[in-house]
Amino acid sequence: MPGLPLTVSGLRLAFDCADVIDLASLAVAPGTMTVLSGASGSGKSTLLYLLSGLLRPDAGTITWAETDIARLGEGQRDRWRRKQAGFIFQNFHLIEEMSPLDNVLVPIWLDSFSAASKRQRALDLLRQLDVPVERESVAKLSRGQQQRVAIARALIGDPSVIFADEPTASLDAATGETVAAVLQRLAREDGRTVVVATHDPALKTLADQTVQLDHGKREPAP
């Protein structure tokens, strides 16, 4: 599925009367990887949650292709994420009681009763990412393998947009580089739009665009 272009303008979000995000504009092209970077508390994860529709801004627009998700209700934003987005987390957030295959199929169950039609695709994704599919539980996988299961889970619905929140933070350097390369490939080879919140310098070097944040505001590029 081709990536979606993103246009953000006048984005503001405040907690307790203090701005946590104040972003005048941002544009992301399909087929690119954009890194949201900054120190802890800079607002990179909050911005990621805004761009994915998990949070709703107080003001501004977040337009993915033709859809301004800032104007959508909660249910519509849920549906938009189901149809258009995949999510990768720092701690993978897999369901330990499930097999790698079932974990990958979770997003399908959010929408359909049967995941049978996606089973082969899930197996293919796991094999492509070099995950042993025969394991009964993801708890028995290495951390690198677990993160690759999480990536497969993000890709099962063939999303246009991939959101990743500190995807390499809990991995060793070598595994982190592998995951970073996968994310870059998802953007450049598959044409998806990849948005990553991270402070990993390795990911920054692979990014097509870096948005440096400080207290919710975008810092000018050096």
Binding site: L54, D78, F89, E97, L105
Partner: protein, 416 residues
């Protein structure tokens, strides 16, 4: 959407706690089921036991005492029916038979009951083995009696029974192998000649002898002229002694009510066992209703406590639910997952409780049947199913509460 795999995974995450919750629900339900099923088994069993005792005539006094002594062979001191009344009963044309009942003796723990052969045949519906007694020193045993046909027994005298008798001398005479005053000679031992079919009553353990033996053992003659050695009706009207009870089989329903009315006099009382049992069942029913209500309330509290526990446990999984939301799960999906989680525990626990309660009632029924002789069978009926259905319904409704609590949790805070 399909929330079942996630709900199942959430149950497996806290397997021990989920099983504990399930067991608590099961035990609470089992308690209610056991009480309800046991009460009905007791009621049905005792009613069936009294089926063959159409109309009981006795001396004025407690119907309960006469009923328990006659039907359930539970020894108690009852007044003796005036022989003049017994004479009138034997002359009744509206009765198929009039069966004098005499009790008060035992062999070991097995009661020895005196009556006439037609009543034994009526009670048993034909013998399972052997024949009916034809002589004063012959006996027929109940279906569950440990004795055998052909065995000779010695009767010990004086276990509860009739008042106003002076039978010790007669009993001593029997035991000593001497002639019984007013009797037909010496008959210290009795020989078992037949075995009844199961009746589901304490009579299944009884040793049933001719009423003449019973009277003679108590020094009351045999109910016949001294030179008359036959047993059973007709009796000599002037030789009839007092009796604890007489069972009458009326020819039809009209005759039954007519006889009941005719023998409700200052010298006698007549009643259908059912009318006494109805009063007892009303009391039993009231107690059961109160216990059932208390049990249901306790079950509701158990479910409420479990729901509180479920909220606490699922709160520990809030990050899992937040991740699902991030992946695109609707609040309805989260709601359904939590609801299925709780419903799974309540429904499975309730079904397990139904089986457990039925099993407990069956065991208690068996023990009670062994101790009382009244056949009881615990069964699951509409009332028990309704009890479980009510609890399940209540649980499914209350399961909405944790589902609402969990699905309203903020997503982003849980993800950080």
């Amino acid at each position: 959407m399909n929330p079942f795999p996630i709900a199942w995974a959430s149950l497996r995450r806290n397997t021990f706690t989920a099983i504990l919750f399930l067991l608590i629900v099961a035990l609470a339900v089992a308690l209610g089921i056991a009480i309800s099923a046991q009460e009905r088994a007791l009621r049905v069993g005792s009613a069936r036991a009294a089926d063959k005792f159409d109309l009981i005539v006795a001396a004025p006094g407690s119907h309960n005492d006469v009923l328990f002594s006659t039907v359930y062979l539970d020894p108690s001191a009852v007044e003796l029916l005036d022989p003049a009344i017994t004479r009138l009963l034997f002359e009744e044309t509206e009765a198929d038979f009039v069966a004098p009942i005499g009790f008060g003796d035992a062999i070991g723990n097995d009661p020895v009951v005196g009556t006439i052969a037609p009543f034994v045949d009526h009670l048993s519906g034909g013998l399972a083995e052997g024949r009916l007694f034809e002589g004063i020193n012959e006996a027929v045993i109940g279906a569950l009696s440990p004795h055998d046909v052909g065995e000779e027994l010695e009767v010990s005298h004086g276990h509860g029974g009739a008042t106003g008798t002076d039978a010790d001398a007669a009993a001593d005479a029997i035991e000593a192998g001497e002639a019984v005053p007013g009797g037909d000679g010496d008959h210290p031992h009795i020989t078992i000649v037949g075995r009844m079919q199961p009746t589901g009553t304490p009579w299944d353990r009884a040793i049933v002898v001719p009423i003449e033996y019973n009277w003679a053992a108590h020094g009351l003659g045999t109910g016949h002229l001294p030179d008359d050695i036959h047993i059973g009706a007709p009796f000599d009207p002037d030789s009839l002694p007092g009796l604890p009870a007489v069972v009458v089989k009326p020819k039809d329903v009209a005759a039954a009510y007519g006889l009941r009315a005719a023998y409700r006099t200052p010298q006698s009382t007549a009643f259908f066992p059912a009318e006494v049992l109805v009063g007892l069942y009303a009391l039993l029913g009231d107690a059961t209703a109160i216990m059932s209500a208390l049990t249901l309330a306790a079950q509701a509290l158990v479910v409420a406590a479990i729901l509180a526990g479920v909220v606490a446990i699922l709160d520990l999984q809030r990050q899992r639910f937040a991740v699902l939301r991030a992946l695109g799960a609707s609040p309805l999906f989260i709601f359904a997952t939590v609801w299925i989680y709780v419903a799974g525990i309540v429904v499975t626990g309730a079904l397990a409780g139904l089986v457990l309660g039925w099993g407990a009632a069956a065991v208690v029924s068996d023990l009670l049947a062994q101790s009382t002789g009244v056949a009881m069978r615990a069964e699951i009926g509409a009332r028990e199913l309704s009890l479980v259905g009510t609890l399940v319904g209540l649980g499914l409704i209350l399961a909405v509460v944790p589902a609402l609590i969990i699905y309203r949790r903020p997503v982003v805070e849980a993800l950080r």
